[in-house]
Subunit: 324 residues, 2 copies
Amino acid sequence: MSALAVGVDVGGTKVLALAVADSGEIIDRERVLTPHATADYAGGATAQAVLEVVTALATRNNVELSDLVVGVGLPGMMSRDGVLVFAPNLPSASGADFAALLCSKDNSLRVVCENDADCAVVAEHRLGAARGVNDVVMVTLGTGIGGGIISGGELVRGRSGFAGEIGHMVVDARGPRCPCGGRGCWERYASGAGVARLTREAAAAGRLSNLVAQRGGDIDAVRAEDVTAAAASGLEEALDVIDEVGWWLALGIANLAAILDCGTFVVGGGLVEASTLLLGAARRHLSSLVEGSHARGEIHLVASHFGEQSGAVGAALLARERLT
Amino acid sequence: MSALAVGVDVGGTKVLALAVADSGEIIDRERVLTPHATADYAGGATAQAVLEVVTALATRNNVELSDLVVGVGLPGMMSRDGVLVFAPNLPSASGADFAALLCSKDNSLRVVCENDADCAVVAEHRLGAARGVNDVVMVTLGTGIGGGIISGGELVRGRSGFAGEIGHMVVDARGPRCPCGGRGCWERYASGAGVARLTREAAAAGRLSNLVAQRGGDIDAVRAEDVTAAAASGLEEALDVIDEVGWWLALGIANLAAILDCGTFVVGGGLVEASTLLLGAARRHLSSLVEGSHARGEIHLVASHFGEQSGAVGAALLARERLT
């Protein structure tokens, strides 16, 4: 019998673990809230949460921990040797050596750690929306933008394992400040935070008069969620904001297409789930933004197949590929 | 005896051919001017020039054409099957099927065609400034910006072979128009054309008063070459323009570092030869522009080892690797 593969995705709000069969079928799942308290040492609480969900799955499936292979996807710059060197959205774990925290002589656990979007692109490439496609980028639109790149069928990891930080590609050198220290990063425009910012701008510029009126004239009370909901019900002024976000989404995708010549982009994350109109808007703008588009084949923007499970599925697949 | 490898680099002004030994040693060379006249069919004149230099090298070295392996680097979007689908700087050859034009039953020539900067990065990776480095980007600064990417030791080709069009990464969404149809492409700033544009802007803004005075007060008469020459002799106002170009160069490199996690960037092309100060300026700005630079290893910006020969050397190496 081959080892049971478990994939764990550590997000900003929850830790999701899936037990994945050889076929890719999800046979069991477990989730807990992501702890954010600072422990005695960086990542201690996070590692405990990961061990908790993994142990729960092992126990329920009558498997020893030493018979598992475990992949863990983490939100931030993951080094090839298992250290989460920089994690702005999970500060309590930034700098933690997860390879060391998770594996001990006592538990004999076999673990691989990767960036969460790198895991997601592996899932989509092996079994999901980009099956059979050799050159693909996964774009996860959450608060920020995460990325995973497969080129020539291989995961692009880079020198230290940090490849795929596509949200911090600068697309507007004179644009707004980003928490990363830069200015005009892509994720200031085409992410959840981007919708919120463009919503504020549109409201202040008088372009969201209906939504502002619904909020009793309070410009600051109009939220990104109001825009995505109103766009879904066809309100023109809200559709214009979604169109603008889609233009920025297409702009960054066009950049990546020029650099990598990927023909498929898998888009996932909470923002796409909140606004199914966004992908259509990006598709409408893409061909006018890609260099030499007349000479290229069509570029496919597709929704994630695994949705919020893509990171955990991919983590399990990577564990099986690298550890068995 | 192994086949003799010939590498040909088709540039905007000249066609350079090198005969390269197994060791990488250049044992012979030949060059002609690039023809720009439109022949009866696209690329006809270019292909003739390539065959001319290749035949000259074969004859002089007492080798039959059929005993050669030939690599050809071309400036533009080269498809994997040898078609130059889009070549803004060589319009007379845009759309030409070079694999078909160069190989015939008569000559029995074995040929591989690639983008010129892709050839250059292969030369620098195998034998030049990035020897032993698995993740490297070649940045060629000419009139525009060309690029070649090696990730995990492998040339990144992309779906159709078009990867590496880094000059058309948009870094300033509201920036000046680019001949490609876009706006604010990186090559509007950090290329020869970029220096010319930033020179005009600086002169018009009164920031090049000494150089304008030297031109009898004619703002429009100050040229990019004046700035690079004056900077080399230490003129502060010219150094400021080079520093600005260096900032833009560093910005694009920071984007590529975030996306690909390359630790080494090899910079070549006419602009670097014209201004050796440019690389230093880019180095000064880089760490403040790269996301999470405190958590990364140092990013190395190095000058091309093979200089203007890098494309031809790399083309010969690719021919040997793929055809023998």
